[in-house]
Homo-oligomer: 169 residues x 2
């Protein structure tokens, strides 16, 4: 089964993201707005129980993760993805590093924490969305106190398997 690890931002950020995703993100209906920590990895039913225990230990190492959003950015020219940029934080970096080394996954891309607003965009769509949003200032500041382990269904949607509260084991 294919699993992933993500943080769901607060409702306000999710509502903002969804208002744009509805038009610009083909994955709008497949998963709520999220910050991907680990994109995807394979595990069977036994393995995931072991992994789940390890994730609980990792969660206990953190008290909270600051989620600060001030602007929109884009992955172009690598890909036509427009996103809310999460300001770098040492804890978020460490959490990501710890997940990578525990799961022994090799991420394809460097870790740029973000909430996707639009993807698989044509050049015109990208220009439209990005030029509309790039000059706007955002001011979201919250703290995440949990992350989620999810698995993928046949239709490409994601179901939450388990929540890990930070600071708790």
């Amino acid at each position: 089964m294919k699993y992933g690890i993500a943080i769901f931002p607060g409702k306000d950020l999710q509502d903002l993201a969804n208002s744009l995703r509805k038009r610009y993100d083909p994955k709008y209906a497949l998963i709520p707005p999220h910050i991907t920590l680990i994109g995807d990895f394979e595990a069977n039913n036994e393995e995931i129980e072991e992994i789940s225990k390890k994730l609980a230990t990792i969660a206990s190492h953190y008290h909270s993760i600051p989620i600060k959003v001030t602007k929109v950015s884009s992955f172009k020219p690598v890909s036509n993805v427009v996103y809310l940029k999460i300001e770098p934080s040492t804890d978020l970096e460490h959490l990501h590093q710890e997940l990578i080394s525990t799961l022994a996954v090799n991420p394809e891309h460097p870790f740029v924490p973000h909430i996707t607003l639009g993807q698989n965009l044509s050049s015109d769509e990208h220009l439209d969305l990005y030029s509309n949003l790039r000059m706007q200032n955002y001011n979201f500041e919250e703290t995440a106190d949990r992350f989620h382990l999810l698995y993928e269904l046949e239709n490409g949607s994601w179901t939450v398997y388990e929540t890990f509260r930070l600071g708790k084991e």
Copy 2:
């Protein structure tokens, strides 16, 4: 904020349900296939932390919940809803009762545990779906070891807030 409590059945049951929900359930994109324990209730940020603690205590009272599906049924004439019927179990009944009394909610309907396949159906659609499925036998038997607390976003979709593992506090 509006919250709900549900069990997600295993991936096979979810995949089966989604193959029909895609056509027959307008909420297909809003939430994965699920067994509703508490439809919805309002809580603010402080209240939900208290509720969350109570839910952890409730979860600790159960070891596992049998999820057995053998047939499809319908809520007609009350509503044109076709669903996978979950066979009654004492634990599931008790869990539901305990949730109701802890949250002090008054459910509109008696508790008929189910996984919705189609809803808001026209009479023709209902006839089409139900007559196709009612004679089929299903044989799903699994045990749920967790339930989830979710909240609703502006667009009507649901995000998981927390997972409660049965038998654990």
